[in-house]
């Protein structure tokens, strides 16, 4: 058993990475947008990894939780606009609402889907995203297919300057904070009861069950955590930045794809993996968008296939294996 104080040591490189992104963005002119995008990809991977990396289950409907989080913020800002003296309170309520709504959806989905094993689980989640989007459009909930535009209400409630600094600066800072929270939770889980239970589950679900581990409980814990963080990301990175929400955009399967690429690239189930994966993916996407726009996925699809076949542990998993027994080991998880 490791000593208590070394438990959180692996958080050091992760937090440093986000802090460096923040510093570069803040101090180098014109870099904020790029750094914010990188931070978003790292955060997306970090949140997704809590479920996919620790359980080995693939959730193809992950973006639905970001979408629902976006709606949480949009609803709070647009419906509470009339109340006086709320000010930044609408944003705080929006964050809480996003967190709770994404969590609630994950409880509903998880209650059904997490009873199922591996492949059946993946099949069940393929529809979550589409299903939820078409429920909103079909039953005309929350503005239906027209979505919610709330830039007017946000400016009205907060004033023009606060609203604009919120959307161009603080929203991105909050993304970084969510990423760090996700990393802390990851360490807490991995080094605690949840992590041990899920490792047992990933190795052999039946054996874990026979040993008296309530596998469904731990799967649900990881699922809800991962989904609620996604809700926060949706609220910060999407709702506050663009100030509208629109079903086809909020539920774009693209983001599930990106989250999968990031986690697999960096190393599923490692703490630093999503940061490495997010940086590699974000930077190469940015670069490819300049050199050959429209070809990003064409290039990333074979890379994912290659990694899955030849290199299933990802970049960090590989480094971790090489670093065994060296001083770096205690900083990697």
């Amino acid at each position: 058993m490791k000593a208590k104080h070394t438990k959180y040591l692996p958080l050091l490189p992760v937090s440093c990475a986000y802090f460096i992104l923040f510093l570069i963005g803040k101090n180098v002119a014109g870099m904020w947008q790029l750094m914010a995008m990188l931070a978003f990809y790292c955060a997306l991977g970090q949140a997704f990894n809590i479920f996919i990396g620790m359980t080995g289950y693939v959730d193809f409907g992950y973006v639905a939780f970001l979408g629902v989080g976006t709606y949480g913020m949009a609803l709070s800002v647009s419906r509470l606009a009339g109340f006086p003296n709320l000010g930044l309170g609408v944003v705080v309520i929006g964050l809480i609402l996003s967190f709770v709504m994404a969590g609630a959806l994950s409880v509903a989905v998880g209650a059904v889907a997490l009873r199922l094993r591996g492949a059946y689980f993946a099949i069940a989640t393929v529809g979550v995203n589409e299903g939820f989007r078409y429920l909103i459009e079909g039953a005309r909930i929350w503005g239906g297919a027209e979505g919610i535009i709330f830039s007017g209400q946000l400016t009205e409630t907060l004033g023009r300057d606060t609203a604009s600094s919120l959307s161009t600066f603080w929203a991105d800072v909050m993304v970084m904070i969510v990423a760090v929270i996700a990393a802390v939770i990851t360490v807490g889980y991995m080094r605690g009861r949840v992590g041990y239970a899920l490792t047992a589950l990933r190795e052999d679900e039946d054996a874990a069950k026979v040993m008296g581990i309530n596998v469904t409980k731990y799967k649900i814990i990881a699922f809800i955590t991962s989904a609620s963080l996604a809700g926060l990301l949706g609220a910060c990175a999407w709702a506050l930045k663009v100030m509208y929400v629109f079903p086809p955009e909020a539920f774009q399967i693209q983001y599930t794809i990106e989250a999968i690429i990031i986690v697999v690239l960096g190393g599923a189930g490692t703490l630093l993996g999503p940061v490495v994966g997010g940086l590699i993916y974000g930077l190469s996407k940015y670069w490819l968008a300049v050199v050959m726009p429209g070809f990003q996925l064409l290039i990333f699809a074979p890379i994912v296939i290659f990694i899955v076949v030849a290199f299933p542990e990802g970049v960090v998993g590989w480094v971790k294996r090489r670093a065994k027994g060296t001083a770096i080991q205690s900083y990697l998880l």
Partner: protein
């Protein structure tokens, strides 16, 4: 009035459902034999649709000729994918095969996007019409339905009566046992995957009869979801269970559309798609082994 509409939509749903069923057989066959869920299923349907479109508009050939081309292309594609990627993933954790098939689907879509662009296309195959009391059906849809039935029947006999089919069934039952009895299991894996992909690409040809202007690199996504519903309904590992499940799904889909269209304040098209997702969850919850034909 609504009665006639419902009857008309149900006839359409039945005809389309047969093709849905055929479009799912490949998915069920691959899952039954290899225990791999092909998450990129819809992309292979898209390949079939583009083959048909290309042969029709560039070479002026009727979709009938697209059938053998699609089957052969699909089987070749299946062999290629199996020998380069999936062969190495049969014993790997599910995560690996799910991500790999997903990425393969994505690769096919991106290749199609770069070859053909993202606009919706279609073609017009004049075949005359069949006038029924409740609806009018283009003959092309009838041909597609007949084709689906014929392919399903052929598959049934191939399974039950031929040596290769028996070998495949033995691997579905127990792959270790089959190996011990002298069945070349890795050959059965390769063959089943190739036939599964071949059938899926083939079904793409038949599906184009139902989507006059719906051919697009990303058209497969909604068929992946529908195929999952149908496959689960028919008992995931049962190819001809899938056919009957397809008929049932087509009826439910078009029937519920008529009902939603009669309700005020809702979007019937979007809600129908929501219903297929709910069906998927409900079936998985009550009876993951499938409602039709499974023990």
């Amino acid at each position: 009035m609504i009665g006639q509409q419902l009857a008309g939509n149900l006839v359409n749903g039945f005809v389309l459902g047969g093709v849905y069923g055929m479009a799912t057989m490949g998915l069920s066959l691959i899952f039954g034999v290899l225990k791999i869920v092909n998450v990129g299923h819809g992309a292979f349907i898209m390949v079939g649709a583009f083959i048909t479109l290309w042969m029709f508009s560039s070479l002026g050939m009727s979709p009938v000729f697209a059938l053998p081309v699609a089957l052969i292309t699909g089987m070749a594609l299946g062999f290629l994918i199996f020998s380069t990627v999936l062969r190495r993933l049969i014993k790997a954790p599910e995560l690996a095969s799910l991500l790999a098939t997903f990425a393969i689907g994505m690769l096919l879509e991106e290749i199609a996007k770069n070859l053909f662009g993202t606009e919706f296309r279609g073609y017009n195959w004049e075949t005359g019409k069949l006038v029924l009391p409740m609806t009018v059906l283009p003959m092309s849809k009838i041909y597609a339905f007949a084709g689906s039935v014929a392919i399903t029947v052929l598959m049934y006999f191939w399974f039950k009566k031929t040596r290769a089919g028996t070998a495949v069934r033995s691997v579905v039952e127990d792959s270790d046992g089959a190996q011990v009895c002298g069945v070349n299991v890795s050959w059965v894996y390769a063959l089943s995957f190739a036939i599964g992909i071949g059938l899926t690409v083939l079904s793409g040809v038949l599906l184009t009869m139902f989507i006059p202007v719906g051919i697009n690199p990303y058209m497969g996504g909604s068929y992946t979801l529908k195929a999952f519903v149908v496959a689960v309904l028919g008992g995931l590992a049962s190819p001809y269970g899938a056919f009957f499940a397809g008929l049932a799904f087509g009826l439910i889909e078009n029937g519920s559309y008529t009902v939603f269209a009669a309700l005020p304040g809702v979007e019937p098209f979007a809600l129908t798609r929501f219903i297929s997702f709910v069906m998927l969850l409900v079936i998985l919850l009550i009876k993951p082994t499938g409602l039709l034909g499974a023990k």
